[in-house]
């Protein structure tokens, strides 16, 4: 993806988090991750990403 496309993703996510509201944003993000995992198709890649995203929080 180009950086402009990545930026569009960033913006859309920020807006959706705000729309979901503070109580629901975690559920939204978890659903999004599951949907993207389903599309990615490769379990190793997804599990790597899960552990990486957990670093330097």
């Amino acid at each position: 993806m180009t950086s402009a496309e990545m930026e569009a993703v960033y913006d859309a996510m920020a807006r959706q988090i705000d729309k979901a509201g503070p109580g629901k944003s975690e559920v939204f993000l978890a659903k999004l991750a599951l949907l993207l995992a389903q599309k990615a198709g490769d379990v190793h890649q997804v599990l790597d990403a899960v552990s990486e995203a957990g670093e330097s929080l």
């Binding site: 930026e7 920020a14 729309k19 670093e55 929080l57």
Partner: protein
Amino acid sequence: MRPDGRGETESLYFDYPYFEPPQQRGELAEPTPVAIVGAGPVGLTAALQLASEGIRSVVFDNKPTFNDGSRAICISRSSLAILDRLGVAAPFLEKSLGWTTGQSFYRGQKILEFKMPDGADEKFRPMYNLQQQYIEAFLWQAVAAHPLIQTRWQSEVVGIDRPGKIALRVSDPAGSYEIKADWCLACDGARSPIRKMRGKRLKGENFEGRYVIADIRADIDFPTIRRALFDPACRPGGTVLIHRQPDDIWRIDYQLRDEESEADAVLEQNVRASVQAVLDETGYSGTWDLEWWSIYSANTLALDDYRDGRVFFVGDSAHIVPIFGVRGLNNGLADAVNIGWKLGWVLQGRAGEALLDTYSPERRGATLDVFANASKSARFMTPSTHGWRLMRDAALSLALRHSFAGEFANPRQMVPYSYTESAAVRSDAGGLKAGPAPGEHLPELRLGDGFLSDHLGPGFTLLCFDAALASAVEARNIEGLSAFALPVSLQASERIAHEPGAAYLVRPDLYVAARWSRATPDEVASTFAELTFRKGNQL
């Protein structure tokens, strides 16, 4: 603000001049074609632009000296091009610090280093750091030396009436008087009294982000690289910006937390402690002196129309923009040049008055463009909602390992806004595959020992590759129009279409007014007449 015991203009490195109010009182009421209110960077630039068109002006400022602090410190490449065309770039180049590189850090680790576009075809670096007092002082040198510009210090404009033309009421320590003017440029800054007198209001948004901007003098061994610190230990959750300036002066901007009150934040001991914490984090352990500080908040506010009859709003009086894009000053200089050449041409009878109606759409468009970019930067630098903050923090955290995420921290580069839709630009007839389109800023090109811009005439210039066309246009002796045949050597450049018939009509402000894939002298002349709004398009 300055440390306890020092006056407003008692700087560690800059000697503020003191300007007397007008001594000769006899001719103060003599009418002037153009009255300029405000001798800030924008008012001074407007006066120089008008003078370069041969137009007299009187500049009024209510202060006895330049502004009190370093304020706007980043001068962009396009502003240098403006200063160069006004013939005043030399002191700026000598004193300022040019730079191309920026670095971003997250919790102390570098996540991004970016370079702004630069190269052998560019006459100027992408950005130069210079304190605003120097900017004003260098412009003032040229203004003071110009016979067509009269400056009146300690002279406050307290009223503006408009029975037909303009009548300004001016008050100075020796008295008050009225002066008539045909036109008025309100360059009187963000709080613009003229704007209030005319009943106009800025419209737009206020952002959450508030910054303290502090200057210190310190002998820090670090190149001229802009540093942005996100979530540093010294300001958890906040953002800090560090810029180098001439004379061993460093600018430290730090964001205030929501719960920090502005009144507390600007107390000297709090500024000292905050600055010390930033310095500790960057590893500087030497001594430093506090020079000046202020507070700045991010706004995107503008007038709906920059024109009100015979009054034009120019610079901060017309728009207030956030600091992240460094556009406040740079956009103001472009405003000053835009209205300056247009008004100059109308007053010289070279252009019809309709040309003046193109000022507001062109420059207000530029401001709205800045707003769009600035809002994006602001969302990253000072995210105002949970969603934007969460995404920003996620991107920064990912950026420690993934360069793609660091790109989110890359500030948008300052490129001049395009006047594609303007009535003072002819819409593109098509046919050229490369090169600047009508409404775009002319790109710079290396040409022998110098640059393309060195060869442009003072008015409009036809640029083409066809020497016969250039001489045919020159032979018509049209006032305000010259022609220059580009050397064949430029045909290797991708920045300008090198088709043999390619021709560009360039405006005095270096924007492309029209282009052709094959032009005739007749077409060039009639387009020139049309775009300068002459009656019946007659030359």
